[in-house]
């Protein structure tokens, strides 16, 4: 039964961090190149436009949900299962979500990169 709790929490972590990463990536694409914006309009504009972006705020919220689910997962399962499982599934989930929701061109090169990194992270933390 504990395994069911642990894997449900891992699923919630992965889902929330993928949603968070996609929202943050979308927000920053809307803000535009931060370096160029800083030179043109100043640091205050960069901060104001980032914090005023709804995608950014919901992205941070999703990241907070992911963080607290991680705390729950760690109280139910071993860190050697939870951390690598969540991290490597998030890499794969992000590749899928970036293709669907951000329309990034996830070509074979990027699939291979995401899979290698996911496998490597699983081995490192395992």
């Amino acid at each position: 039964m504990k395994a069911v709790y642990t894997w449900s929490a891992i699923f919630v972590i992965v889902f929330a961090s993928v949603v968070g990463d996609v929202l943050l990536a979308r927000a920053m694409k809307q803000v535009g190149d931060v370096g160029a914006l800083w030179r043109r309009a100043g640091f205050g504009t960069v901060i104001g436009r980032t914090l005023g972006n709804p995608n950014f705020l919901f992205g941070v919220l999703a990241m907070a949900v992911a963080f607290f689910s991680l705390l729950f997962a760690l109280s139910w399962g071993d860190v050697s299962l939870v951390a690598p499982a969540a991290a490597s599934l998030t890499f794969i989930g992000n590749a899928v979500a970036a293709k669907i929701f951000l329309h990034e061109r996830v070509d074979r090169r990027r699939w291979i990169a995401a899979s290698l990194v996911a496998a490597g992270v699983a081995l490192l933390a395992g």
């Binding site: 990463d21 809307q30 970036a98 951000l102 990034e104 990027r110 990169a113 290698l116 992270v121 081995l123």
Partner: protein, 151 residues
């Protein structure tokens, strides 16, 4: 990709790894915090290692957001995963922990993945066009990305 942008990606990598290590070191000094004694969190923040760790993680978040403003999510994430490798190397050579053969294999896989993604373009999408928010200067970037020449 300019030198400055590689510097930002390196910042994401180093700040994340250093911040996590400092936090972990500091939290082991302060001891575990229970939900019944939440005031323990305040003492944890007073620990210099924890405070520096939090500052480094803020720096991580700022550089991560900067990188996402001009590169794809599927580029930034693998490119900055070298932080895991950095942590393992610090554990092996500074903290003198054992690194098993399976972990060395993991390091090799991550490094290979980073090499794969770093060889390709960093931006493959048209940035969403908001005429009011984005004057003409975004135009060259969009066309460069569309023809796949931006690296």
């Amino acid at each position: 990709m300019t030198f400055r942008k590689y510097l930002v990606l390196a910042g994401v990598t180093v700040f994340a790894a250093a911040g996590d290590s400092m936090l972990s070191h500091g939290m082991k000094q302060t001891g575990s915090i229970s939900l019944n004694h939440l005031q323990g969190v305040i003492f944890a923040v007073l620990n210099p290692w924890v405070a520096i760790g939090i500052l480094l993680l803020l720096a991580f978040f700022a550089t991560y957001m900067t990188a996402l403003s001009w590169a794809d999510l599927t580029y930034v994430l693998p490119a900055t995963s070298l932080g895991y490798v950095l942590l393992a190397l610090v554990a092996r050579f500074l903290l003198h922990e054992q690194v098993s053969p399976l972990r060395w294999l993991g390091i090799a896989l991550i490094t290979g993945g980073v090499g794969f993604v770093a060889g390709g373009p960093s931006l493959t999408t048209h940035p969403p066009t908001h005429p009011a928010a984005h004057p003409a200067e975004d135009e060259p970037r969009a066309t460069a990305a569309a023809s796949g020449v931006e690296r």
